[in-house]
Amino acid sequence: MSIECPAPRHEEEVVLLGHGAGGRLTEELLDSVVLPAVGETEGPLEDAALLPGRPDLVMSTDSFVVSPLFFPGGDIGSLSVHGTVNDLAMRGAWPLALSVSLIVEEGLPLSELRAVMASLGKAAQEVGVPVITGDTKVVGRGAADRLFINTTGVGRRQAPLCPSAANARPGDAVLLSGPIGLHGTTVLSTREGLGFESTIASDSRPLHRLVHALAPLGAAVHVLRDPTRGGLAASLNEIARDSSVAVEIEESAVPVPEAVASACDLLGLDPLVVANEGCLVAFVDPETAEHALTAMRSIPEGTQAVRIGEVVSDGPPGRVTLRTLVGARRIVDMPLGEQLPRIC
């Protein structure tokens, strides 16, 4: 078998929607265009970065371009708070402050902007994080799609938590805090009028309290990740790659709500690659797995927390395997590119 580099036949010179979908194409774009320009960072790419010289402080930024602006279970305003708060939380941090930047398309009804901002403010208040700075730009009709929001957050690490995508170890228990697939299928169903939106809602919510509940376990919490774009499949692949370990999960243990399963069946999607905005994956020391589950289940965000798999010592590093319902094994690959555009 040849080991030559793939010879691309495709047009390469323009950005495709898939480059923003959080899968393999996004990786390629970061590796080939973004990172070479800004200089390599130390260690793996994480949801949030430790501030140089101040490892107790964590920073993260995220832009929100979801369409439609309002969907069952949330809207672009609350999502833009939850998204950044959760990215901070995945490094074990409690949010200290947020910035909010708006890019508004000319013609957006003020009533909609008011509703989004009210929701954003309420979400920040519920989290308990102040919005301390921001920016507003208006662009001409067609230069943006109604409203884009960027939020940047700074948080303080909750010692002794120090989770990182590179910290998974053989034997670790893989825990999931709740059911998967709700956000992606809700947004898609609302946008396309598929009819599932009456039975499901986005899981968009802040996860910092859930992480706080895990804080007493300290260094036994090796990895935290919220499986947003690219879903559980992308998160597990990133962790397996960054930690150089093999991960195995049990298909029957992964909670997929009925409506998500139906929508995915109808649309030919895999729930494992559908985005979430309100659950997290935790890799923890196997000795503390039960404690971690009890801690998560003690608060509302984690009542449905389950163990879905483990880090195995006999698999090739970077590989994620799924034990199927009938008992066979298959590899869970990194999703490629565009599946559900603009879900966050």
């Binding site: 078998m1 040849s2 080991i3 030559e4 793939p6 010879a7 691309p8 036949r9 495709h10 047009e11 323009v14 950005v15 495709l16 929607l17 898939g18 393999r24 194409l25 396309e192 598929l194 029957s252 009925e258 399963a261 139906s262 069946d265 649309l267 030919g268 590989r319 395997t321 199927t324 319902l325 009938v326 008992g327 066979a328 094994r329 298959r330 590899i331 869970v332 690959d333 490629l336 590119g337 565009e338």
Partner: protein, 369 residues
């Protein structure tokens, strides 16, 4: 979940596998016709749990895979025109034509939209009377009725800006073409349950009798497939060759006669080229003369295209089951879902993509660290 969970029960699956191991005495070769079935088999790893020597041959029933390159190039040519809204099911967007694909065209400014039903395209046409709305009508007997209904609806609305680029194909001619091939290894078929939900199974009875081959109409869930395989093996073991129905919750012998009527009204049977297989007589559908005004190929002059297949792609051998993806030297290296050389690597129902998604590698590669 009703109609879903009970067909994915791990315990019942193991019981069916045990029963299969007790029943099969020979290394039978069974073809699942439909790409949806291939997807379930490979995703669940069912084909790897079959009794020793028994093999599933993955059939030609992936509409994305068998749509000829010429149709794809026509689609790109139409989509690139100013004023056109080009609509398609999502799967077709990444299929490479000779030079490009619909996603890349969209990134360059073409108005290409994913729809979930052809009726959505009709609604677009009604909402944009100043634009030409074209729907890429591909697929087997399963998708033909909805496409026929879209044309009938557009005709009722008096829309003059809606058309279909048609490349419909039919299952029975492909099965007989495979069986006529002297190298054909297929000893039994799992017929595609959704095709049969529309067409019924009467047209398969003469095939079973003439070629003395068991045909089991089969569904798409893990237990459907296991039961379908078991029914086929029982026939093979007892020397029977009948058409049996595993997918009783969806399929009747006569099929859906109202859907068939809509198809007969709007389409007529025609010769059709299959990607990787070649031209087969009476193996597809085209718009009937009364509805020719809805034919995008006539409305837009897209003749004179000379598509060239990638010489390295063995899609034909894959689609006929003569080879498996891991036999192909380009599989996983020069041909990946990111850079597909041919259609079976593009659609999630394509055999190569199903293998790739399940992380399968050639035996020679697997043994090296």
């Amino acid at each position: 979940m009703r109609y879903l969970d009970e067909y994915r029960d791990p315990l019942l699956a193991r019981q069916l596998l045990d029963e299969l191991r007790r029943t099969a005495t020979r290394p039978w070769r069974i073809m699942e016709v439909c790409g949806g079935q291939t997807h379930t088999l490979v995703r669940q790893g069912i084909d790897e749990l079959l009794p020793a020597g028994m093999r599933m041959i993955h059939g030609p029933g992936c509409p994305v895979c068998v749509t000829p390159l010429e149709t794809l190039d026509r689609a790109m040519a139409v989509a690139a025109r100013p004023g056109v809204i080009f609509t398609s099911f999502g799967d077709m967007l990444r299929v490479p034509g000779t030079d490009t694909d619909l996603l890349s065209l969209r990134a360059r400014g073409a108005d290409v939209r994913v729809v979930y039903a052809p009726m959505d395209a009709v609604r677009l046409a009604a909402a944009h009377p100043d634009r030409e709305v074209v729907f890429l009508a591909v697929g087997f007997e399963t998708t033909a009725p909805a496409n026929a209904m879209a044309v009938l609806h557009a005709a009722r609305l008096g829309l003059t800006n809606f058309s279909l680029l048609v490349s419909h194909v039919l299952v029975p001619p492909a099965m007989t073409a495979l069986l006529d091939d002297p190298d054909c290894e297929v000893q039994a078929f799992l017929a595609a349950g959704h095709v049969c939900a529309v067409m019924g199974w009467r047209e398969y009875e003469p095939i079973a009798a003439r070629y003395q081959v068991p045909i089991v109409v089969t569904g798409f869930e893990p237990l459907d497939l296991l039961e379908g395989v078991l029914m086929a093996v029982r026939q093979l073991e007892s020397g029977r060759f009948e058409v049996e129905n595993q997918y009783v919750r969806a399929v009747r012998r006569a099929g859906n006669t109202a859907a068939q009527e809509a198809v007969r009204t709007v389409f007529r049977v025609a010769d059709r080229a299959w990607r990787g297989i070649g031209a087969l007589p009476d193996s597809g559908l085209e718009l009937a003369e009364e509805y020719a005004e809805f034919d995008a190929a006539r409305r837009f002059d897209v003749s004179g295209l000379c598509p060239v297949e990638d010489p390295e792609c063995i899609a034909g051998a894959i689609l006929t089951g003569a080879k498996v993806p891991t036999d192909c030297p380009a599989y996983g290296t020069r041909c990946t879902p990111r850079h597909p050389l041919g259609a079976p690597m593009v659609s999630s129902e394509g055999t190569c993509a199903a293998f790739h998604a399940a992380g399968r590698v050639a035996a020679s590669v697997r043994s090296t660290p």
